[in-house]
Each structure stands twice: as C-alpha cells, then as structure tokens.
Amino acid sequence: MSLSRILVVDDNSSSVEIMSMFFELEGYEVETAGNGQEGVEKVQKFQPGLVFMDLQMPVKDGYEAAREIRTLPLGEQPFLIALSGWEIEKVKDDILEAGFDRILNKPAAPEQLREILNEF
C-alpha cells in the first residue's frame, strides 16, 4: 500500500467525482468505486493507504465491504474512513465494529478531510 493512494467508494457519482477532484488537487493518486463490491476489488488491485467509503450502497454496503477488506491478505491494511449521513452517535458502534478507523459525517468540511490526510 501507499499512503499517497486514496480510494473513494460511493454510489453517488457526484460525490465520488468531487471527492476525487479534491484529493487529486491535494496531490493524491485517486481511484473510485461505485459500491462495496467494487471497493473491495479496488483495494486489492490499487492497494490504497486511505479508503473513504460511503455506507449505504447497492450490491454491497460499506459495513460488509469494510469487514471483507479487514480479512484481505494485504501487506498492510489501509485506513478506512466511513462517510455517514446518519447521526454518528447512533451508528458509531456498528461502524467501528465493521473495522473502520474513523467516521466523518456528511457533508464533511474540507478541513476535516485535510485533517485526516495529515494524520495518516
């Protein structure tokens, strides 16, 4: 994996598009996926250091995808950041249990995104 690679997983293509632009402008190499299933595949191929992932997605949701990613035989596990439109307090436990490292409430402020980039 490389910390300079970011994977954005969201079924809302507008979101994916703009997040990608943002990260690219911040100097990262970005890949995208439209659902959890694609997300898991891209993690294997692309070996990102950070994964920003929506939770409610068709085919495979963010929880399932995170759990699956955590079982992948990767050299090093990526950091998983959940993007949730729900009130964080209500979903926090489920999200962390699924294997995410951080939770961001939508719409995430650019500062929050940058903070995370700086952290990892």
Partner: protein, 797 residues
C-alpha cells in the same frame, strides 16, 4: 245444741272424720250425723259414759288440737294432737293449768277477748302464736264455740290448727310473686302481662317506652290499649292472638312486624311472642316478650338499599365488574361480564375466570392477585381477556378491598375496563412518533447526501480557480445536486400541503408532450449519472390534458427518478404514453431491483420506505410515491404498480382523463409530437431587486436565444418596459420602491401592456399570493429558483 251443728263441728274437728265414721258405721244403718249427735250428747252429758273412751279415741286421733277451756282460762280437756302442740306428754301436766302459758305474750290480750267472746256464747276465730312447753312457736288458727260445762257456765271448745307451714308457704309464695313481679318490672327487655280479665297487670321497664302514651297503664284493658297504639287491623289481630293463647295455652311467635304507630306515627319493628302462664292469683295470664328491632330493621333496610344502589351502579357502569370475599374467588359478576364472555355464573364463579385468560398472561396475573390478597393491597393489572367471539381484548383491571370498622377485609370490588382501543391508539401514536423520528433522521440523511459534494465542490472551485475545465465539471455536478435538494424540498412542501388538505390545482389545457419534456429535463441528470438508457415512446397525436402543469411534471419526474434510483447503473428505463379512448396511459418501466410482493400493497403509503427492511444500500424519504398517488388522484386519475419480484424490475402505470374538448380523431399536428420546439426570439424583461438572481436569470434567458433587459424594482420596470415593449416580463414580487403587484397593475393599464406575458417569480407554498398575483394581472408563476425547463416552456408559449 242442735243436731246439725254437731255434724258441722265434727267436720271442723277433722275433715276426714266423716269418712272414717262412715266406714265404721257402714253396716249399722246409723248415719254419721245420728252417731255423732248421740256421741256428743253423751260426751257432754255424762263425761264418763261408756262411750267416752271411744269418743276420746276419735278426738285423740284428730290431727288438730282440741281444747276445752274453762271460763277462767283453765284447760279442762285436751286431745293428743293438743299435747303435741304444747310439747307435753301427759294430760295431767296440761289440764288444770292456764291456757295462757302456751300463748305468746303478744297474743294474750287477743286471746282473752276471743275467749271471753266465746264464754259469752258467741263463736270466734283467732290467729295467734302458740308456745310449747319447750318454747317451740307455732302459728295457729283457732276456731272456738261455746258449750255449757257441768256447772252450767259456758266453756270454750277450741279447735286449734297448726298453720305455721301454710303461713310460711304463703310467705314464700308472696315473696316469690313479688320477686318475679320485680324481675319483670326491672327487666330492660320488653315484657308485659295481661291477666285473665284481659287487663295489663305487669309491664317491664323495657316495655314502658312502647306504652308511654297510655295512662294509666296497669289495670287498663289490653284491647283498648292496643287500639290506642296501633292501627285497627294490627290491633285486632294482636288482641285475637292474645285471647287465643290465653284460652288455649298455645304459644305464639310472631314472624316479625313493622308497623306505623297510631299514637306517634313513627314506624316501629318488633319481634314478639306470647305464652300463657299461671299468675299469682292462680288464674291464667298471657305474657308477651318482645324485642324492639326498629333500629336493626332500619339498618337492614339501609344495607339492602345500599346493596341495591351498588347493584344498580355495577350493572350500569361501562366496565365489567365483580366482587369477591377473598380476592380471586369471585362470587358475583355484573351482566356485562356475562355478555362479554358468553359464560354463565356457574362457569365463571370462584377461579372460573381463569379460563378466559391468555396462556401467556395467566401465571403473572394469578401471582399478582395472590400477592395483593395476602397484603390486602389494591390490585391493578392489564391483560387480555377472551370474549365470546373468541377474540382477546385488553382490560385494565383493578380491585379494591372493602373493610369493616375494625379494618378487616370483608370483600373486594373489582372492575375490568376495556382499554383495547386506548392501547391501539397509544400504539399508533408510538408508531407515528417513531416514524416521525425516523423520518427526520432520514430527511437529514437525504439532505446531507447532495450537500456533501456541494460543500466539497465549493472547496474544489477555490482550489481550481485557474482550471476552467475542472470548474465547469464541478459546477455541473453541484447544479445536479442542487436540483436534487430542490426537488426534495418541493416534495416535502407538497406532502405538507396534501396532509393539510391545502393543495390546490391550477388546471389548464396543457399538452402532454410538454409535460413529458419538462419531466425528462428535470430528471436527465439523475438518469445520466447512473448511465441508464432512457427510451421515450410517444403517440403520434397531440394529447391535451386538463391538468396543473407543475404537478403533472412532478408526477412524471418522480416516477422517472424512482426508476433511476432503484435500478443498478446502466439499466433500461422506458417512458411510454399511449391513448386509450378518453384516457391517457403513462407508464414508467425499469429493469431494476423490483418490489417484493408483500411491499406492493403499501408502496404508495406515506413513509412506506421507512418501515421497509431496506433494500441494500437504498434510502429515501418514502414520500415520493405517496405524493405521486395523491397528485394523480387529484387529477381524477389512477396509479398502479406491477413487479415480478426482487430484481425483476417494476412498472408504474398512471391513467389520466384527456381534456374533455379533445376529439380522438383530431388532426395530427406533427410539430406537437416533437419534444423540442424551436424557440422564437422574444423580448424579455427580468425584474428583481436581488441583483445576482436577476443577472443569473437574465443570462439563462439570453442563452435560450432571447433579448433581455434587467430592472431592479417596480418603478424601473415600468420605465424600461415602456421603452422596450417586451413580450415577456419575469418579475419578483417583494421589491423596494414599487412591488411586483403594483408594477403589474400599472403595466396592464398601459396600451402596450395588455398583451405582455406577465410572469410572477414566487416562492412555493404561497397559494394566497397566487390569488393576489392573478388579481394583479399576472398570467403565470415561476417558482424560485427558476427551473430552466419551466422557463423555456413559458418563453415558448
């Protein structure tokens, strides 16, 4: 002495003498009288005649004392019984001595008079105390007759009877009678005695109050008394009872009596009995014993009344009611219980009610009952009870112990109140509340999703301000997301209007093709985003509807949005419109995730989606389809859904009546069937005090190929319009200097202003404003922010 006096005398000496003499003379032919006369004569005449020893024997055999006393008081003769009475054993010891030595000193004078009277030749009687030689005192009764002695002087022949025991008996009798009378008089119980002459002879203290109005009482005729105290019928009856008992000795026991008194007109109750007794005078009397039970009876009546009141209450209350002596062991149910359960008392009594309980609840219920019974606490519980229809209903049940003065529980009174509807309502409220919470959470979620790219997009725009290509891309995306937010807010407002019954349609004759065009325009970005293929199939003829254009666009765009949303990327969506006689069928079909059969029935219900075990990854407010259905129905149309199941796609079909003036064979206008109508260049005036908004709108209008000018308030608008002579004026309403309404009125009054198309720029939800704008002369409304499709359609009219 006369003969007959001899026989009398003999009888006096000894009542049995005659009998004995009769026996002795049985075979002699001599009567007792004859014999006695002879003997007495002989005895008196001779004293020492041959017959004397026999007579002596007779006299000695007599149990009474016979004495002959000389004038001076000397005892001349005495018989054996006399000797015993004076406690002597020999006649010589007594005869020849003074009689007074044997008379109690206090009787000496009386005896002297008695003696002298006899010696004067008269008969006399005297009661006195005789003292024996040894001092024994006897109470005696003496009867004396005179008879002549040998010297011719009259002597006293006294027959003296010992009446000591009789006297004592008399005394005892007297005392007994007195004691009994006293006992009766002092008794606090009601006792009175009616004697054989039917007069009241004795009344107990306890009976006096009952007779308080009878004066005098003792010795008064009982019949008279009864008629004074009681009404005729009862008085007569009582009198005849007394008479009967007195006569026959048959005792009488009353069954209890409650009567109104005649003398004091109060109602009194008695229990009484009459028996016959022998009174002191040796005659019969009737004794009446009675108890005054007036208070007892009144208490009984009061209890009865209270019991009746209780029954009345318990039978008329809305609840099921029952009573127990021991909580749980029911001894009475009200009629409602039987009506509800359809069971008899025999089936339900004691613990019989347990069979009506639901098996899931009975153990808990019974345990609580036993607990409350032991502790004497109010019992309260809520549980289902089976009715006669076999269905369970919920009852709030309560039982309260009723205690006596000492605090002991005498019984329990319990009720069961049907709370089924209350519980259902509560459940509905809870459900509604839960749905509301879920709705708000979902709403936040739905708003956040499009906001996320907008927020990030703004940042990207800042970062990429030198890169026009990126800027354009970001702007487009943000526009799409903004559109989504707007349609979400529109839906919300419409739902709010529908639920408040405030939704008004502004129907006009509109072209179906225009509706379809606007709807497709509005949803194009959603469809494109997911790379769906949209096919549109339109009929070859122009179809007009009598409908509200904005709502119609909403119907179709909602269905299209839905299809795009629930179809995985790259799906096929078909929008088709067909005409069937008087109606048009608009269908939207997709090959998406479909709808599971159980959901088909409720898919049009408000918030149906909330309760749906969510299709993986799809979320939504659950108002879109409910809104579509309401809008379709408002247009007298119908909507139906069909799906072969999960992942088999779905199809929504809307049927609407075509405009009534529409002829099914109207000549086809080929132009009308095409979606994009070529625009004619128009002169447009945009009026808005918000400079930015005005500029944005002006640019859009210009880009559509029109000539535009801008005014910033009503006054300026009038000025510019007079010069420009526009075809269309797009005017905000709230503006300084002169507002939109005033400006519109003014323009309509100008010769050039009659034909101008006046369009108001309004906010949603202001039905009142719409009426006002119409009055002011506006032709149309455009909702802010103006939708380009709607704008285009307006400009092309």
């Amino acid at each position: 002495m006369a003969k007959e006096s001899s026989a009398t005398f003999a009888a006096k000496i000894d009542p049995n003498l005659e009998e004995r003499l009769q026996a002795k003379l049985a075979n002699t032919g001599i009567t007792v009288d004859q014999w006695l006369a002879t003997q007495v004569e002989n005895f008196l005449a001779t004293g020492t005649q041959e017959s004397e020893p026999y007579l002596r024997a007779v006299v000695d055999a007599t149990p009474e004392c016979i004495k002959v006393i000389d004038t001076d008081g000397t005892i001349v003769q005495i018989n054996a019984a006399g000797l015993i009475m004076v406690e002597s054993e020999s006649i010589p010891e007594v005869c020849g001595t003074s009689v007074y030595r044997f008379i109690a000193p206090e009787f000496h004078e009386a005896f002297r008079q008695y003696h002298e009277k006899i010696c004067r030749g008269e008969k006399a009687v005297l009661e006195f105390d005789m003292i024996g030689k040894n001092g024994a005192c006897r109470h005696t009764e003496a009867q004396g007759v005179p008879f002549a002695g040998p010297d011719g002087k009259l002597r006293n022949l006294s027959l003296i009877r010992d009446v000591t025991s009789r006297k004592e008996a008399e005394e005892v009798q007297r005392r007994t009678t007195e004691t009994l009378a006293e006992l009766i008089k002092q008794s606090p119980l009601g006792i009175y005695v009616v004697d054989s002459d039917f007069r009241v002879s004795l009344v107990s203290r306890g009976a006096l109050p009952a007779f308080r109005n009878v004066h005098p009482l003792i010795g008064r005729d009982f019949e008279e008394i009864m008629h004074t105290l009681w009404p005729e019928s009862f008085a007569s009856e009582a009198v005849s009872i007394f008479r009967h008992t007195l006569k026959t000795g048959e005792p009488y026991v009353s069954p209890g009596l409650t009567e109104k008194r005649k003398d004091i007109s109060s109602i009194e109750s008695y229990e009484w009995q009459v028996i016959r007794v022998t009174l002191a005078d040796g005659r019969y009397g009737a004794v009446c014993y009675y108890f005054d039970v007036t208070r007892l009876q009144a208490a009984k009546l009061a209890l009865q009344e209270s019991e009746e009141r209780f029954r009345m209450l318990a039978e008329n209350m809305n609840q099921l009611a029952w009573t127990c002596e021991q909580l749980g062991e029911v001894n009475w149910y009200n009629q409602r219980w039987h009506d509800y359960t359809g069971m008899s008392f025999a089936e339900l009594k004691e613990w019989g009610w347990k069979k009506l309980h639901h098996p899931d609840h009975i153990d808990r219920v019974e345990e609580r009952i036993c607990q409350c019974r032991e502790r004497g606490e109010i019992w309260e519980d809520t549980f289902p009870l089976r009715g006669k229809d076999g269905k369970y209903r919920w009852f709030l049940s309560r039982a309260q112990p009723i205690r006596d003065e000492q605090g002991h529980i005498v019984r329990w009174f319990g009720t069961n109140t049907d709370v089924t509807e209350l519980r259902e309502t509560q459940q509905l409220l809870r459900d509604a509340d839960r749905r509301k919470d879920e709705f708000l959470a979902t709403l936040a979620h739905e708003l956040r999703n499009p906001l996320a790219p907008i927020r990030t997009g703004l940042e990207v725009m800042k970062m990429a301000k030198d890169n026009p290509e990126t800027l354009e891309k970001v702007r487009n995306t943000m526009e799409r997301q903004t559109g989504q937010l707007i349609s979400l807010v529109d839906d919300l407002l419409n739902v709010s209007r529908i639920t408040r019954g405030k939704l008004e349609l502004r129907k006009s004759r509109i072209l179906l093709a225009e509706i379809i065009e606007s709807a497709v325009e509005a949803t194009r970005s959603c469809i494109d985003e997911k790379e769906h293929e949209l096919s549109i199939v339109m009929p070859g003829e122009a179809i007009h509807l009598n409908a509200d254009p904005n709502r119609m666009v909403q119907i179709v765009s909602n269905l299209l949005n839905n299809a795009a949303k629930y179809t995985p990327n790259g799906g096929d969506i078909t929008l088709k419109a067909e005409r069937h006689d008087g109606e048009v069928l608009i269908s939207v079909e997709d090959n998406g995730i479909g709808i599971p059969p159980p959901m088909l029935d409720q898919i049009f219900e408000m918030f149906a989606q909330i309760d749906r075990p969510q299709e993986k990854g799809y979320s939504g407010l659950g108002i879109g389809l409910a809104l579509v259905k309401s809008l379709v129905e408002k247009h007298d149309g119908t909507i139906e859904v069909h799906s072969d199941g999960s992942n088999r796609g779905s199809v929504f079909r809307v049927r609407l009546p075509v405009h009534p003036e529409e002829k099914s064979v109207e000549a086809t206008d080929p132009n009308l069937d095409r979606i994009a109508v070529s625009a004619k260049k128009r002169k447009v005036l945009v009026v808005d005090d918000n400079e930015e908004a005005a500029t944005m709108l002006a640019i859009e209008v210009e880009l559509l190929g029109n000539e535009v000018r801008i005014a910033s308030d009503g006054k300026e608008a009038i000025h510019i319009a007079a010069e420009q002579q526009p075809d269309v004026i797009l005017m905000d309403l709230g503006m300084p200097n002169m507002n939109g309404f005033e400006a519109a009125r003014h323009i309509r009054n100008q010769p050039w202003g009659k034909a101008v198309r006046l369009v108001a720029l309004t906010g949603w939800g202001q039905e009142d404003d719409r009426r006002k704008t119409e009055e002011a002369g506006f032709d149309y409304h455009l909702v802010k922010p103006a939708d380009s499709a709607a704008l285009r359609s307006l400009l092309n009219k």
